[in-house]
Amino acid sequence: MKKELTIFDNPENVKRLRKGFFVALVLVLIAEAFVDMHGEFSVAHFYGFYAVYGFISYVLLIFVAKVLRKIIMRKEDYYDQ
């Protein structure tokens, strides 16, 4: 039997990973201050536009998908009946 990886069984490691992720979030927000956010559209010049847009897009995607599921979801054997 090959030995298993169990790195994420330890909640400490998951916590560390999450912490690293939040640090990365803060870093990319700060990084915007140091680059010229040239762009064709003026909305993209608002500080943190991409962060906000990414977050909202994602939440919208999930919630619209939840509504869509009510319309399109059928049983697995729908076509076999």
């Binding site: 990886l5 990319v28 680059v35 847009y53 990414g54 995607l61 697995e76």
Partner: protein
Amino acid sequence: MINSLLPPAFILVIGAILIPFLGGKTKAAYMLALPVVVFITLLNLSLGNTWIVEFWGYELIMGRVDKLSLIFAYVFTIMTFLGVLFALQVKDNLQHVAGLIYAGSTLGVVLAGDFLSLYLFWEIMAVSSTFLIIASRTRESREAGFRYILVHLIGGLFLLAGIVLYVQKSGTIAFDYIGLTGIESYLIFIGIALNAAAIPLHAWLPDAYPNGTPTSTVFLSAFTTKSAVYLLIRTFPGADILIVIGALMVSLPIFYAVLENDIRRVLSYSLMNQVGFMLVGIGIGTELALNGAVAHAFCHIIYKALLFMAAGSVLQMTGKIKCTELGGLYKTMPLTCVFCMVGALSISAFPFFSGFVSKSMIVSASGYEQLFIVWLILQFASTGVVDHAGIKVPFFTFFGHDSGIRAKEPPLNMLIAMGIAASLCIGLGVFYKPLYNMLPFPVHYVPYTGAHVVGQLQLLLFGALAFTLLILSGYYVPEVRSKNIDADWTYRMFGRFAYKVMDKGLNSLNRISEWVLIRSVKGFSSFFSKAAVNIALFVSVNLWLLLGYRGKRLEIKKEKLYNDFSEGTLPIGIGAAAAISFILLIFILT
């Protein structure tokens, strides 16, 4: 320059036929050598038309070699090699033969300079790919393969009709830019767009691809849609309708991808989303946008194949492919997990992975053309990709809840194929210059600017933040076993409807006519049988009266005769006598 005798398509198609006669290591080496021979052939090609054959007064051009066709031919050949390597342990020769014929026919499509050879390879492509779908030999795959071939044959008919009209109008079978101008161009457009899985002609893709074998789906994911993308770049660049179709394709399938439970179906919807980016690029039609579409096709073929390879490895080693049944596989399949993550980062267009250097060209091109809504949709779709391909596929397969499955890593050849694909994904993301140099138009675009990198990272990471918050709070879409209806509902239901129409309509007509027939025949025959009884009685009674029967004995005789007649229990002799007298009668009369 030395050209080989055979066009690349024929090397693979004819080469494939020999596979069943080989075995063991020879077979493996031979199959791997075929794409290598093709690659060497391609490297030695000079620009211009080669392999020109006269055919019934038409000029077939089987080697239109320019920068556009070459780059597609290169990536198709690389993909063939990876696909063959990944499937090397498969014993089923049908898959190897069909796979190589399929790959060869797409090379034929890409290098065709005339409509006749294009159409020939187009149809070989449809038929050979169907064998890859039904190779699973399950009922679902047979049915899906049947629907797949029907849809593609109809698409092929559109293309053929368009070609016939086009050739009649222009007088030549050679083709290049067509543009949407007349009925023939629309027919050709529909034929090609169907193969690109353009909405609303897309349903065959998520219907058929998830039904392939663990290895055959890798082949399928690469060729059909991207050869259609190639043709659209060649024939309909700048067609505005492609922007609309592309915008629908980048956005609608991602909702399905969020909801789907079957991982290969998630990847199929994600494939549509990526082709959508390419179609938007073709529709914009500027040099940057077209370069972006080509570059994105190149990168996409490799990372999408990588993702399908990872999914195929999981399917092969666990026998399961549904999010609800998987989880925690990183523990025993760490390499597959890492390769899958590389594919996920590439498709998410993470900086220093291949998707970033190609997708950003298309997104930037939409910005330069001031297409604000399109730009917003593309950014939205980029976040959507993070959800389904970037997070959902690796997360629910390799992490998430522990399914308890402890599957081993796949065989070495599969790992090597994934390893090469993963290296290419990173290589293309970091050293993008060689790719840019191969693009059809000169490139002045710089992908790695501070704004691009920071903007993209914010988009991706804050999308991932949304995922984290949603899944921790329990608001994320729960994974459930389900079937989500798509546009194939229309023709599947139409099939059922047509069946019902046949059943209720024609069969009830049958029933009615049967009823009418039986009633009338019964009435008719009973009239005659009664008449026969009555005549017989009339004759007999008179005879019996003459013979002196009276009273009770006569009654008994009458009753017996009546019963015998109506129940058909006359002694057999009477029937025979009747038949013989009938024959005699005919004999006398004629």
